[in-house]
Amino acid sequence: MSKNPEFVKFDKVDKSYDGKVLVVKDLQLDIAEGEFITMLGPSGSGKTTCLMMLAGFETPTHGEILLDGNIISNIPPHKRGIGMVFQNYALFPHMTVYENLAFPLRVRKVEKDEIDKKVDKALSMVSLNGFETRMPAQLSGGQQQRVAVARALVFDPAVVLMDEPLGALDKNLRESMQYEIKHIHESIGVTVVYVTHDQSEALTMSNRIAVFNDGKVQQLSNPAELYEKPVNSFVAEFIGENNTFNGEIVDIDKDKCKVKLANSEILANPISVKSKGEKTTVSLRPERALINPTDKMDNMFTGKIEEVIYHGDHTRVRLNLLGSSEFILKVPNSTSNLELNVSQDINIGWNSVDARALDPK
């Protein structure tokens, strides 16, 4: 069975609500069959609009959306066969769990026996057997969420859309649900388009992540690449924590460049800079900078500790380094812990390959 790499295709899609501002700009996005893709972005970045266009509740102002090769822009939502999990679950409050799950099957005129079988299967998938006769109001948030997932999957849709489904849950439940949804996806192989503004959720669950900002996909790649190799400063800033230096390129060759900061110079990896004199923002992950580096690193500086915050599994250290007092270090709490005190001077080093010179902020 060959998977269609363009199972869902956004082809040059524009969307404007008022004819003045484009909420989605020239969106080009291919989603492979069976893929778990996450649209990640701050609120107002256009990600939910994309989802609504795919579900059929909004029409693209320009461009086409294709599902399995067919243009679906003119197909009404109920004929698209796309399952959807809503932000507030949207369970029908006047129906029992069973009736909620049976709804998509009943409107498809499925036989009663078949409905019972499918509902039972879907409920066991989210481990909610025995809850058939409960009303949604009698369920906890997590249980309601599972029912919503089961309902979106019970009629075997080709694509399931999830619009920030875990937003209303508390942290622990949210994390366990993330794994649960991931496992469901892995076991049934449905294509999932997931929308969230929570980056750790996106990193945990997805095959690929599309980072949205300002109506555009900023970067589309797998979680590791997204975190390790952000292509611009927005992505670097949005995903994970980030130390930045603003400066100007003074020297550049193929895989190294020299960036002049206010009163010093650092070496960095040129990603989106091409020539001397360009302004740039250098991004460095906190865990890539080491204290008292033993091996040879090409950036070595001394900073002064401003603040030490204990975080359980790690300690965050804020330093005054290279003229900025916002430099963050994450020190894992291992047995060989260092003595870290405020006002202490420490040596910091990192490799230039980890310091990515991106577009200026």
Binding site: A55, P77, H78, K79, G81, G83, M84, N88, F92, H94
Partner: protein, 421 residues
């Protein structure tokens, strides 16, 4: 409390329950004092008048007080097929004599005449005899009275007096249903061509039902629009719904008169577009049509507002969920949206129906003869015939009707499901 559970004590050794009661007593008193004015107000303006109305509607004490000895003597009258014994005659004579001295005998005659036709004549005859002192108290009074008029020898007249003995009567209620006590005491219907009240009751129910129906069909889409339109349009629409609400009821009814009369704007328009001939203008007022049109318009906000408040709480994502799960827009509406609006439908319909069933001004002004309701009849007896006890009886029947409807509604839908906002 089960005896097994151990009584919990506070640290001072006082039982917890006692301690709790003590602690909450102050709050309870405070709370009661806060609602006390309202309670007093309700008692004075609602419970007391209704009680008074009820007493008035069943009150029949006048005659009981007029003939105390007679009714006492009648207790010993056993064979009701024969004329009462001498004692009853004598007591009646004594009571009547006292009334005659106090100039009260006329009232008695009228009252008895209502009970059975022909009493007025024979009591007047008795009065004249008493006035001329022609009755000899030393011999049988029964024979003397019986000689006065043959009706006095008819046992039915005496039975009629006996029937008036209880201080309370439901006769007014029977009258409200076009029934009365026959001379033998059985409940009988009035002749068919005189059953006006029953027609009025049925018409009231019919008009209230259809007005509710029309308001529902017109109000539902309006409420839906109100709940789903963007704020700036829905505010405007809300004002359109409420504007008539702020206008005096009388003004609105009068404007319907201007619109609906035969030389009115609607008829002019029909003639102008050639729908009807100028000499053949339809009557849209002083009949049921007028009542329907005006009452529907006036009661519409009472339907729209509860519906709106319920629809406002229904998340738009529910309809979307219905559609995304494969329901056509109609199925999504019918299976998802509509059931969720039932509390609002219940509240709106109940409100409109109950208001319509007791509606007065509008039917009085635009209803004409075929469009008036039971409340107009009540007003008629209050103001024109001054038969307040009958008006009270009908008012209470109306109230009972409303309570019955409420009870049925509670059984069918459940009052907990009403949502007014």
């Amino acid at each position: 409390m089960s005896s097994e559970t151990k009584q919990i004590l506070t640290t001072d050794g006082i039982p917890l329950e006692v301690s709790l009661k003590k602690a909450e007593k102050k709050n309870k008193i405070k709370a009661f004092l806060l609602v006390a004015p309202l309670l007093l107000f309700l008692v004075i303006t609602y419970i007391f008048p209704i009680g008074d109305m009820f007493m008035r509607s069943v009150d029949d004490k006048m005659i009981t007080n007029m003939l105390p000895k007679t009714f006492k003597a009648m207790e010993k009258w056993e064979n009701l097929e024969e004329l009462p014994p001498e004692e009853v005659y004598r007591s009646f004579y004594e009571d009547y004599k006292l009334l005659a001295e106090n100039q009260q005998h006329g009232k008695l005659g009228q009252r008895l005449n209502k009970e059975k036709n022909g009493f007025n004549t024979i009591t007047k005859k008795l009065f004249r005899q008493i006035k001329r002192k022609k009755i000899d108290e030393s011999v049988s009074i029964k024979e003397q009275i019986n000689k006065l008029h043959k009706r006095w020898r008819n046992v039915e007249y005496w039975l009629a007096i006996k029937r008036t003995a209880p201080p309370y009567t439901v006769a007014k209620y029977l009258k409200g249903m076009d029934m009365y006590f026959d001379s033998d005491g059985s409940i009988t219907q009035v002749e068919e061509d005189r059953r006006i009240h029953r027609i009025l009751w049925l018409r009231t129910l019919e008009i209230a039902f259809f007005v509710t129906l029309f308001s529902f069909f017109m109000g539902y889409p309006i409420a839906h629009l109100l709940a789903t339109l963007p704020m700036k349009y829905s505010n405007l629409l809300m004002i359109c719904v409420l504007l008539p609400f702020w206008t005096s009821l009388l003004v609105r009814t009068a404007s319907w008169m201007i619109l609906l009369q035969q030389q009115g704007l609607v008829n002019d328009f029909f003639v102008m577009i050639g729908l009807v001939g100028d000499d053949n203008r339809p009557e849209m007022m002083y009949n049921k049509v007028g009542t329907y049109v005006a009452m529907t318009q006036i009661l519409l906000p009472f339907m729209v507002l509860p519906l709106y408040s319920v629809m406002k709480t229904i998340s738009p994502s529910l309809m979307r969920a219905g559609k995304s799960l494969g329901g056509t827009p109609f199925v999504a509406f019918w299976k998802v949206y509509f059931p969720l609006t039932i509390p609002g439908i219940g509240a709106g319909c109940l409100l409109v129906f109950i208001l319509a069933i007791g509606y007065y001004i509008t039917p009085a002004l635009v209803g004409g003869a075929s469009g008036t309701l039971i409340s107009n009849q009540i007003a008629f007896h209050m103001k024109t015939t001054l038969d307040w006890s009958f008006a009270s009886a009908m008012g209470l029947m109306l109230l009972t009707g409303v309570l019955v409807i409420y009870w049925i509604y509670n059984k069918l839908v459940g009052v907990d499901n009403i949502k007014l906002g």
